[in-house]
């Protein structure tokens, strides 16, 4: 292993610029002649627009332009798209009502974009935005997920009768029903997966510049996937041809999914900068972020398990209503379908699984992927249901899991729900977690807590998740509009240092460090001589971006493949220089050697020879610069067991997480320090969902949790010290042996926490977020 190579906890390269305040985010970038944009947004959840009078705003000081949906339509700028098709139970594709980037006669949620006001200063833009008179005719709003499709509900889109986007049955219903009919016992649970606002620290922003000389638009965006933004904006929104559109995702302050999507503001800023022929900058304030970022989760579910007399799972049934919001965001349809139901087997051998997902429209902000995307929802219902099964069967929660685990010798394991798991040893992770958490000593701790008036509980969650969506052909079969490979270019400069261009995008993940470690390890180049470049369509060949914990498992392998090509080419160059046969050349630790001799040549010298090919093999191209694309054969399947221990104050319902253990299988770790950070962050995300974060719309569709005064984000004092360990297995189809770690905590934590609370207070279920009042009421009913 190279120092600073794979397995070393190297300090993050990027932190130097962040800690010195030298990070450069979209809002930090200012260009000559820049104007400022403010969006006029709907204050109504549902209304027809009878007229817009922008005359006073247009005449206001400093105003450059006020543009509305009519202007957008006149220029042929297309509506926003949803990139994944789900087939509904009538055989038709999901209902996809138009999603205009500026309202066309109707608004469908509070925060919906009505007009853009562009002025010389931000204050002037805001002042003028208040002068845009929009004549609304309010309509009744649909705000409840559970009731959205009820008879007699207000209709939101003509194209979607009963507000249904799709009904998606999955599995063999008849066989499932039969298994339930013959079961020894049926356990069930009704639960809500609470809606969350993703809340990256940096709000969304866009800076559009148009160059009339080259007819090129440059868009700096808060994006997790610049090339996907460029592709969609060019191919589907007619913003500009792809070769005349440059998208840059500079430093981005967190994404967590919310910056994957192609948003109205981004398209409108790109279009407006050309229309007014001035640079246009827009940065969301926090209220706008709450109102207009795509939200996450928001399911209402009934789940049932059929068991035999030994507690073996015979069949599972899941009925879910999923809220997609007012319009379809870019990947909205995929989240409560493929990313959800394909995970219902979890870590278990359940042979029959049937589910129905009804996806509904409501007058709320669009809902799309948020850290975990579908997998936290699947894991939560499954791991809660398993605990109910354990209680119903009189088994310890660990024991019922053990009885149903997929055994370690059964991998690769084909589940009944499409996915074929790569590798795993679920019992090993459970054993390790129970040991680390001192599961055996819990009763004594609970007894001690009782003496202090506290109810102590312990909860397990044994999750599996699916990262690095692949292969592209399968994505296409499922109705996805893109390929999900990744690309890399690894370029030696003549002086021997290396630039690595990746199609992934780092917005907090530490790619500049992790990927440099990969290259350091493989090519033997000193870590400090390697620079990782990402986030600019003008620099990087192409890429699908970062989400779904794909960057290392897919993007990292592309880098490794490009390095392989360099090593192979270098053998020819080195063989020629050292006057040996290519077959006798070996490469290790950055040096080419001639087998059986002491002749050696460093890869940096080889690179120099490639650029200054004076003494060079015939037929070999000059240059030392290779690219590679990698399309994996399968998803990767991280898994593990999390154990949470809580103490509940029965007098107030307050929950304190007093201990938290996570044992995960992420395959091989490249930078354990960064991985640990991801695990911490993921668990804290899960703590937020389980205890704190409740996004709440009132019956009129007003978002009543639109600030941090009312929406509780997790803080340091909400989390204990974590106990973290790993139980790695080797995924056979991943050349680096890696799986992905970015979402695991957010997936594993919520059920572990709620299971612990239910255990503490002796309740069957407690809804998330388990606020003090919710838990206090559960304590009252449990008594």
């Amino acid at each position: 292993m190279q120092e600073n190579g794979i397995g070393a906890s190297v300090r993050r390269k990027e932190d130097q610029r962040f800690l010195l305040g030298k990070g450069r985010y979209t809002d930090d970038i200012n260009v000559e002649g820049q104007t400022y944009a403010c969006f006029v947004r709907s204050p109504h959840a549902h209304a027809e627009i009878e007229g817009i009078d922008a005359s006073a705003a247009t005449a206001a000081p400093g105003v450059v332009a006020v543009l509305t949906g009519d202007d957008l339509a006149a220029d042929g700028i297309g509506p926003l798209i949803c990139g994944v098709t789900v087939t509904s139970d009538d055989g038709q594709p999901h209902r996809a009502p138009a999603h205009p980037a500026l309202a066309q006669g109707k608004v469908n949620y509070v925060g919906d974009h009505v007009a853009i006001v562009i002025a010389e200063s931000l204050t002037q833009a805001r002042d003028a935005a208040e002068l845009v008179e929009v004549n609304y005719r309010p309509l009744p709003a649909v705000a409840s997920t559970a009731d959205a499709a009820n008879d007699g509900q207000q209709q939101i889109h003509e194209e979607a009768p009963n507000n249904i986007c799709f009904n998606w049955p999955f599995g063999d219903k008849a066989a499932n029903d039969e298994a339930f009919a013959g079961a020894h016992k049926v356990s069930s649970i009704d639960l809500v997966n609470n809606r969350m606002v993703t809340n990256p620290m940096e709000p969304r922003a866009a800076l559009g510049e148009y160059n009339s000389g080259t007819e090129e638009i440059t868009l700096h965006l808060t994006t997790q996937n610049p090339h996907v933004h460029r592709l969609v904006l060019a191919a589907f929104n007619q913003l500009a041809p792809e070769h005349k559109l440059r998208v840059v995702g500079p430093d981005v302050g967190g994404g967590f999914g919310a910056k994957i999507f192609i948003y109205a503001e981004e398209l409108v800023v790109g279009w407006a900068c050309r229309k007014v022929n001035r640079p246009v900058k827009w940065t969301a304030d926090r209220t706008e972020a709450f109102l207009s970022d795509a939200h996450g989760r928001d399911h209402v579910t009934r789940a049932e398990m059929a068991l035999d007399e030994n507690g073996k799972f015979l069949a599972m049934r899941v009925l879910t209503t999923a809220n997609l919001g007012a319009y379809l965001s870019t990947f909205a349809t995929m989240v409560p379908s493929y990313l959800y139901a394909f995970l219902f087997a979890g870590q278990y051998t359940t042979p029959l699984i049937y589910s129905e997902v009804k996806a509904v429209f409501t007058n709320t902000s669009p809902v799309d992927a948020s850290r975990g995307a579908g997998r936290p929802e699947a894991t939560y219902l499954l791991e809660r249901l398993v605990d109910v099964c354990a209680a119903d069967m009189g088994l310890d929660p660990a024991e019922i899991r053990r009885r149903n685990f997929i055994p370690k010798d059964a991998f690769p394991y084909q589940t009944p729900v499409v996915q074929c798991y790569d590798s795993g040893d679920y019992e090993a992770a459970l054993d390790q977690a129970m040991e680390l958490a001192d599961y055996a000593g819990f009763d004594a701790r609970a007894e001690e807590a009782r003496g202090r008036g506290k109810l102590r509980g312990i909860g397990l969650s044994s999750y599996v998740e699916a990262c690095g969506i692949a292969p592209s052909a399968a994505v296409g079969q499922l109705g996805g509009g893109v390929g999900l490979w990744e690309s890399a270019q690894v370029r030696f400069n003549p002086t021997g240092n290396v630039q690595v261009f990746t199609g992934t995008h780092s917005h907090g993940q530490g790619h500049e460090t992790t990927f440099a470690q990969l290259v350091c390890d493989q090519l033997g180049v000193p870590f400090e001589n390697i620079e990782v470049i990402h986030g600019d369509t003008a620099k990087t060949q192409f890429g699908m971006g970062t989400y779904g914990s794909r960057s290392l498992a897919v993007g990292g392998v592309a880098i490794a493949k490009a390095c392989d090509k360099l090593i192979a080419k270098g053998k020819k160059i080195a063989a020629h220089a050292m006057e040996a046969a290519e077959g006798d050349i070996e490469f290790a630790g950055g040096n080419y050697t001639v087998a059986g001799t002491d002749k050696a040549m460093n890869i940096a010298e080889v690179a120099f020879n490639a650029y200054v090919p004076h003494n060079y093999p015939e037929g070999v191209e000059p240059g030392f610069d290779e690219n590679a694309f990698f399309d994996p054969m399968n998803f990767s399947f991280p898994a593990g067991t999390h154990i949470c221990e809580v103490e509940v104050d029965p007098a107030t319902g307050e929950v304190e997480i007093v201990d938290y253990t996570a044992v995960d299988d992420f395959g091989k770790l490249v930078n354990p320090m960064i991985v640990e950070g991801q695990v911490h962050g993921g668990i804290v995300h899960g703590i937020g969902q389980a205890l704190l974060e409740g996004c709440h719309y009132d019956k009129d569709g007003q978002l009543v949790t639109a600030s941090y005064m009312d929406y509780a984000m997790p803080r340091a004092d909400n989390a204990p010290e974590f106990k973290i360990d790993y139980a790695p297995t080797d995924p056979p189809h991943n050349p680096l042996g890696v799986k992905g770690c970015g979402e695991a905590g957010a997936i594993g934590a919520p059920p572990a926490i709620i299971n612990a609370i239910a255990n503490a207070i002796g309740a069957k279920h407690v809804e998330m977020p388990a606020t003090p009042e919710t838990v206090w009421r559960a304590c009252q009913s449990a008594n």
């Binding site: 805001r126 205890l691 709440h696 941090y708 009312d710």
Partner: protein, 264 residues
């Protein structure tokens, strides 16, 4: 934020003159409520008169059994004050748990009580400790000062100068925090004084109020069990997405009992 004229007077008299002459003036102390409100364009004062330059409004003085805290004294200063910690430790602890460090370094006693947020902490202490609010015109008894949601006994353009807190025999403040804002969902301040028990509740109703029924219960004996039979009236409680009226009423009792127990 809309445009406004900014003033920084050097004396209370000058501030009073500025506010009296402003079309729609606002006094700003620490600005922890006013400035966010202005940033959200929910307030548009013509003039903002910053009290931060008035030296006479800041400082802590202990004179016999009275702790006098200047209106512009920050929460952080009160929390760190050895005089306050010695004389009324519950008051220092209360100040040290308002908001976060940024709020505590800017927010002031005078700003807090003049704003009278229904979930603010200081009003409970002012009432329960039997404090006296001194203004540039008069003295107002603490329990008469808070008159409704964001309403006080202050007259137009009247400026809080200081608050006199009598030293209790023992006191404690128990706050049940809103997990998002960390304001009080319910806060109960109890004090054992020579004149008998005193209590005030914040967060639960339109504004902080003296809790006579808690005081009556404690007459029999200053102990948590004296409140076993106490029930706060559900119909008077606030109800919102964070806590129902029933839950708030329950918390008033729990926090009161804990505050009393902590006085022991």
């Amino acid at each position: 934020m809309y445009e406004f004229s900014y003033h920084r007077p050097a004396s209370v008299a000058e501030a009073a003159e500025l506010i009296a002459n402003a079309a729609d003036g606002k006094l700003v102390a620490g600005g922890q409520t006013l400035l966010p409100t202005m940033k959200h364009r929910l307030a548009s004062p013509s003039d903002v008169i910053d009290l931060g330059g008035i030296a006479e409004l800041s400082g802590i003085v202990v004179n016999g059994n009275i702790v006098t805290i200047g209106a512009m004294t920050t929460h952080a200063e009160v929390a760190a004050s050895s005089e306050v910690r010695e004389a009324i430790p519950a008051l220092a602890a209360l100040a040290g748990n308002i908001g976060d460090p940024a709020v505590r370094n800017r927010g002031t006693l005078g700003g807090s009580i003049a704003n009278n947020d229904p979930a603010a902490d200081y009003p409970a202490a002012v009432i329960a400790l039997g404090a006296t609010v001194r203004t540039n015109r008069r003295e107002i008894a603490g329990e008469d000062f808070f008159t409704g949601m964001f309403e006080t006994a202050l007259e137009e353009d009247e400026i809080v100068v200081a608050v006199d807190f009598p030293r209790p025999e023992a006191a404690s403040y128990m706050k049940f925090e809103n997990p998002a804002s960390r304001y009080a969902i319910v806060g109960v301040f109890v004090a054992r004084t020579a004149a008998g028990p005193r209590a005030a509740v914040t967060g639960a109703t339109a504004c902080a109020h003296r809790a006579f029924r808690i005081e009556e219960s404690l007459q029999a004996g200053f102990g948590a069990s004296a409140l076993d039979g106490f029930e706060a009236p559900v119909d008077k409680m606030n109800s919102d997405i964070h806590a129902s009226a029933e839950y708030r009423a329950h918390l008033v009792k729990v926090m009161a009992q804990r505050a009393v127990a902590a006085c022991a």
